[in-house]
Amino acid sequence: MGKRIGTEVSLGVAEAARLANVDVVSAYPITPQTHIVEELSEYVANGHLDAEFIPVESEHSAMSAAVGAGAAGARVYTATAAQGLALMHEILFIASSMRLPMVMTVANRALSGPISIWNDHSDIMAEKDIGWVQLFVENGQEALDLTLAAFAIGEDHRVLLPVAVNMDGFILSHMIEPMVVPDQEEADAFLPAYEPAMRLDPKNPVTMGPVGMPEVYTEAKVQCEQALLGSKPVVKEVLDRFADQFGRRYELVEKNGKENAKALFLTMGALGETCMTAVDGLIKDGEDVGQVRLRLWRPFPEEEFLEACRGAERIIVIDRALSPGCINGPLAVDIKSLFYGRDDAPEIVNVIAGLGGRDVTTEDFREIYARASGGELDGGYTVWGVKSYA
């Protein structure tokens, strides 16, 4: 049986990678990801994890070494954030197009400049098209559980894709929370040893990463997209299996607040818990409001999301990233295009909040709700709480 402990969420994530018996950890330090790989390097140093720890000289090389190790047939883990993720950018596409399963925690952090080490989602929103399965977690238990589940998802031979587990930096990564940590036997039962579908093996030589001429490039891309789209039922299946074994159920899209509420907040990541508290308060005040949380970001769980929003007249989309020059924040762009042309399309209000670690409180949610209800936030997007120095 697993045991319940109080620990920092980053250390819980490291514990999940250890329970997954990873073969290779390749990593470069960047705040707020560091505690995870520091802990893993200690595990390796004291023999609690039999793995190769590659202390690479950059995040670009962290991802490149991860690709090399994955291609050799190893189970690979890495973690990064912000500038580090941006430096990996080029190789992220290659990892997915080579169909190499690996797990990466992204401790979401704002991008420079100005330099900020604090949380928002601009790092991963710039990487939404990399062809990886992408999950967003809300609390420590979920971070641990989904890290373990991510290996099972990516390594499933129907998927064979890298998986990013997005976890808000500091706001979540540095919290100390109670977590149930599975024991090794439980973890092994859930996640058997990695069986690569293909690997670099002199006994059975393969060519990986060849030149794709115009005659084959489109088909190669479409196959990758099909693999990503096809991962959705597997994600569901793995999370169901997780629920059956560990008793903790995670849905692709989750809903709380009033049944068939007229107004819904949409959040991703740790902000969901603040929002939940605000929604509870608003309901007590007699408001007809609920909340939708997106756990699976890529592939976008279209049906599940539409089902969760059925009957809503207004959706208040909280984006934690600015997409300069775009019509909306990145999340709202997806939501608006999803509803485009549908008769049941609700009004979509887009608020961009919490950039670069700016606090978003329950009061903020209440005020956003009031202003959206009063028709003050129609059309376009609103960057929340911008101070005026005039």
Binding site: D23, V24, S26, D50, A51, E52, I54, P55, V56, E57, S58, H60, S61, A62, S64, A65, A66, V67, G68, A69, G70, A71, A72, G73, A74, V76, E90, I91, I94, A193, L200, D201, P202, P205, V206, T207, M208, G209, P210, V211, G212, M213, V216
Partner: protein
């Protein structure tokens, strides 16, 4: 602390025991007279099939892997231009873990990384340096054709002084490339890795035996192979081996080894003048006698430095 370098299992290649097996198949799309593909073929002949190859973006990646064809008869991977050192690190670390855990049985295959001079001395220098410094057990081979040939003859930091390229063109106000070639083998040697060597496809037995030493040594090894490019150098394809030979005999590209920090130089007894080498290639045709004198002076100076390095470590050998 000085450490004696061992080459366990080293088997010398001679004309008599030359392997028949080709790991890089014929029918690839390299240009006629390409020195890179010749060198690459020789490297893989010496290594054999029990190898995993990581290849940087560049001519060799393009000409050997247009899907659905592949010239590779051993496992091969291309990821990007600047990260071959890191990819090879990952392969080596992955294999090590899998072998240790018993998930893969048998001998560890050799891990070989190939990059051109741009991928090695310029964009990929960081990832190569990281991989050498961390001590991964692999062989990095730089196939040096002295410019970015894959994209159409642009200068690199490995382009020699005075060479005309499309981004260092000779003109009324320019002699071509303004700087001397970056000393990449010395940079590799400065990492204090067990084995560094220069080689040339014109001296194929020497090249292949250096490859055998590189794969047998424990830890990182670096080979810098001179690779004529008739297209970029504007020389005759049928002359590329002759050009490669002249580069060595004129001391433009001396052949040496750095074994555990000791520099081993085979002295060239009667060196040819650099002019003889330069006139084989139209990339140098604009150079005046004064320019050629500058190059000669630089070549002599570099060679003297090599001799001093070898003397310092007491390993000068007379020409055989």
């Amino acid at each position: 602390m000085h450490k004696e370098i061992q080459f366990p299992g080293f088997k010398k290649i001679t004309a008599k025991n030359m392997p028949w097996d080709k790991v890089v198949a014929s029918g690839h799309r390299a240009c006629q007279g390409c020195g890179e593909i010749l060198a690459m073929g020789m490297v893989m002949k010496a290594v054999g099939r029990d190898a995993i190859v990581a290849n940087a973006t560049g001519c060799m990646e393009i000409v050997t892997s247009p899907y659905p064809q592949s010239a590779w008869e051993c496992p091969w991977i291309h990821v990007a231009f600047e990260n071959t050192g890191a990819v090879a690190s990952g392969i080596e670390a992955g294999l090590k873990a899998l072998h240790r855990k018993g998930r893969v049985q048998g001998e560890m295959p050799s891990v070989i990384a190939f990059g051109g001079d741009g991928a090695t001395a310029d964009i990929g220098l960081q990832s190569l340096s990281g991989a050498l410094e961390r001590g991964h057990n692999f062989v990095y081979v730089c196939l040096d054709n002295e410019a970015y040939m894959n994209t159409g003859i642009q200068r690199s930091s490995s382009t020699p002084w005075g060479a005309s390229t499309t981004t260092s063109p000779a003109g009324s106000k320019s002699k071509g490339q303004r700087t001397f070639k970056k000393n990449m083998p010395a940079i590799a040697a400065a990492h204090d890795i067990p084995y560094v060597a220069t080689a040339s496809p014109a001296f194929h037995l020497d090249l292949m035996n250096k490859v055998r030493k590189a794969v047998s040594v424990e830890g990182p090894a670096y080979l810098h192979i001179y690779s004529p490019c008739p297209t970029g150098w504007r020389c005759k394809p049928e002359q590329s081996i002759e050009v490669a030979k002249l580069a060595v005999t004129s001391k433009v590209f001396p052949l040496y080894e750095v074994i555990g920090g000791e520099w081993h130089l085979k002295k060239t007894a009667k060196p040819k003048p650099v002019e003889e080498y330069l006139k084989t290639q139209r990339r140098f045709r604009h150079l005046t006698p004064d320019d050629i004198a500058i190059i000669q002076e630089h070549v002599d100076w570099e060679y003297a430095r090599l001799e001093r390095l070898a003397a310092m470590t007491d390993s000068v050998e007379d020409e055989e």
